[in-house]
């Protein structure tokens, strides 16, 4: 069957697609149940998918619940995101070996089998595109990231529902992924999946499957799923947040939020776009072998801004302000896009339930008078 980019088909279950990917040599990483949450790990078949589960999310709250046992993807995003694969929390950069006249340097590249990420949501695809800009900034490209990203296939799942923490609609990143995927699945209300082909690589995967063409009505039913999910969202980001935050660095609201913020860095770890890292020197006991490792870091740690003499951002206020103004405002200066994709992870995984939309909204509602 000649599959083509842009075409739509029907599929009964995700099983054959997972099998086809694996048959064609793709390692498949997808959602799984782990530690009471949805995590992203390698799956061997559709049986590994957490079918029948749904989630309940709020500020500082995440619970999985039993849902309709026939539904495959009624949960939304969990504590993990795809950066754990593309931008690993610990990554060896290179190593050095002591020699007679100094040391030798050896570059290092991790193995990366061609990998399909299965079940990426619209906000997560947007986040990957944000990190694409971070790790290839025009002057420099991160070799590991570039390699992993190039050897990757994205199977999107269009969200059929939203959690209370979701606000992708107001960030224009979802709930429907319009591009950025190779294959996209929409779980229809009547059961079965609408399959969209987004690329030639996607077409090659679909080529081996028995697929019926989707009718115009079925395509509309797929879009209706996304409309319904969008309509469920209650949280919104102020449209002018970029300029409002830039102009309100001295707003009293920062003090209020700093009183609640624990500076725990959960938000930065859960965030699919946060990219800050540190580089560590790791030595063996002999002292003859040294390795350089890149590890995730967070702007919430005191050491993060350390220059000789002390840290630049000593107060929680300054660190929260740095995180939020960077995410929502100065990110535009750096990468021409917001750093927020509206996934709501920072809300759900904040131990004290700080809500980025509420904080941005409070400042936008009562901005400080501007000096002219």
């Amino acid at each position: 069957m000649p599959d083509a980019k842009g075409a739509s088909f029907l599929l009964d279950s995700p099983g054959p697609l997972v099998d086809a990917l694996r048959r064609q040599g793709w390692r498949v990483i997808g959602p799984k149940l782990g530690q009471g949450a949805i995590v992203y790990e390698e799956i061997e078949s559709a049986a590994d998918l957490p079918r029948g589960l749904t989630d309940e999310q709020e500020g500082g709250h995440y619970r999985l619940r039993e849902g309709d046992p026939d539904r495959w993807f009624d949960y939304v995003v969990g504590p993990q995101n795809w950066k754990k694969w593309l931008f690993p929390a610990r990554q060896k950069l290179w190593s050095a070996e002591r020699s007679k006249d100094g040391f030798s340097v050896e570059s290092h590249e991790d193995e990366w089998p061609k990998t399909a990420i299965f079940g990426a949501r619209a906000c997560e695809i947007a986040a990957i595109e944000v990190q694409d800009r971070v790790f290839d900034n025009g002057d420099f490209a991160d070799s590991g990231y570039t390699k992993r990203r190039a050897g990757m296939l994205i199977v999107a799942v269009q969200c059929a529902r939203s959690a209370a923490t979701c606000f992708c609609a107001s960030m224009n990143t979802g709930p429907r992924a319009e591009a950025g995927f190779d294959v996209a699945l929409t779980e229809l209300e009547t059961g079965g999946f609408l399959v969209e082909c987004g690329s030639d690589a996607g077409a090659a995967v679909l080529d081996g499957l028995e697929l019926a063409d989707a009718s115009a009505a079925q395509q509309q039913a797929g879009e209706a799923v996304s409309h319904k999910a969008a309509a469920e969202q209650t949280r919104t980001m102020p449209a002018n947040v970029e300029s409002v935050l830039r102009d309100n660095l001295d707003h009293p609201r920062w003090e209020e939020v700093a009183e609640r913020c624990l500076s725990c860095a959960n938000c930065t770890l859960a965030c699919p776009t946060c990219f800050c890292s540190d580089v560590e020197e790791v030595n063996d006991l002999s002292g003859d072998h040294a390795e350089r490792w890149r590890v995730w870091d967070s702007c919430f740690s005191l050491d993060f801004s350390y220059i000789h003499g002390g840290a630049v951002r000593r107060s929680t206020l300054s660190r929260y302000r740095q995180w939020m103004t960077h995410k929502l405002s100065s990110w535009h200066d750096q990468f021409g896009t917001s750093g927020c994709v509206g996934c709501g992870r920072c809300i759900a995984w904040c131990p004290v339930g700080i809500d980025i939309t509420e904080e941005a909204g409070a400042i936008a509602a009562e901005p400080l008078a501007q000096e002219v």
Binding site: L93, W94, A96, R98, D101, G102, F103, S104, V105, S107, E109, V134, F135, D136, N137, D139, F140, A141, D142, S143, T146, K147, R149, A150, L249, D250, F275, C276, S277, D278, V279, E281, N283, G287, A290, R292, R294, D297, C299, F304, S305, Y306, I307, H308, G309, V312, R313, R314, S315, L317, S318, Q322, H326, S329, S330, H332, D333, Q334
Partner: protein, 281 residues
């Protein structure tokens, strides 16, 4: 989007320490030569990431003459584990170097103007390549003033060389220290004092100023420059923030929308004026 290991910007090149000497009690200078590939071309104000085997990596500005090919010079103060290891290397040792990174002092674009360098403490090191440029091309500039302040006479960097600059008839060199014991025959007072004096005799509109030192010292110096009529778009400063990667990936050196490592370290003052007086940005 393909990058080979050879161009991996995180991978250092090996350099041999040709010669090293102590400048001050806790400051050393080293001359380096590349062991592989070509020698490094750089612009005044740029920096390198220097790697000490088994210890780590740190951002250090280049302090040599950009016109001298094949010689890379760094001056390093021992303020921590990595800088301490680098400040205590010996002749013949090997270190790793990545760079050059960052923006430059646009001194070559300011021909015809009166160039004022204001250096505080170790801030003379990143300015020295630009000072060399003006000294080497002195006839292209209307004037050259260097105002250099440090904590005490024992903390004056490149003291002999500065005396040499002073002995030229086409320079105005003012050296001052914050504190001194009797016996010191030079000036005592913060850097703004001789700066104010030097500016008093000049037309601020003809001045292009390059300022480098601790952030507070730069803020006070900029106040003096502006009071003397130097336009904010003719003042450049060099910012310091924590840097881990130098290529815009690690996020540590952010200052508002800028990465100090890529958009800086040298900024035209009007670009950073809004944020530089704010606390904890």
């Amino acid at each position: 989007m393909s990058v080979s290991a050879a161009t991996d910007p995180m991978l250092p090149r090996r350099y041999r320490v040709r010669k090293t000497w102590k400048e001050l009690a806790d400051v050393s200078t080293m001359e380096l030569e590349a062991l592989e590939g070509q020698s490094m071309a750089f612009q005044p104000g740029q920096f390198n990431m220097l790697y000490a085997f088994g210890v780590g990596e740190v951002a250090i500005s280049i302090s040599g003459d950009p016109a001298e090919e094949g010689k890379l010079v760094h001056t390093i103060r021992d303020v921590g584990a990595v800088s301490g290891a680098l400040a205590s290397v010996s002749d013949g040792d090997m270190i790793g170097v990545r760079g050059p990174f960052g923006s430059a002092w646009p001194v070559a674009e300011q021909t015809g103007r009166h160039i004022v360098f204001v250096a505080g403490g170790l801030g003379l090191a990143p300015l020295r390549p630009a000072i060399y440029h003006v000294l080497n091309n002195r006839d292209q500039y209307a004037g050259l003033t260097v105002v250099y302040g440090s904590r005490s006479p024992h903390d004056l960097l490149y003291a002999e060389e500065v005396r040499g600059w002073k002995s030229r008839f086409d320079t105005e060199i003012e050296v001052t220290v914050d504190h001194a014991e009797p016996g010191w025959t030079g000036q005592v007072g913060v850097v703004t004092v001789p700066l104010d004096r030097a500016l008093a005799g000049n037309n601020g509109a003809e001045v292009s100023a390059f300022v480098c030192g601790p952030e507070i010292m730069m803020r006070f110096s900029v106040m003096s420059l502006k009071a003397a009529g130097v336009s904010e778009d003719k003042i450049w400063i060099s910012m310091e923030r924590n840097m881990k990667c130098a290529i815009g990936f690690c996020g540590h050196c952010q200052f508002g929308g800028d990465f100090i490592c890529r958009d800086g370290p040298v900024f035209r003052h009007d670009h950073v004026a809004k944020l530089i007086n704010r606390k904890e940005v």
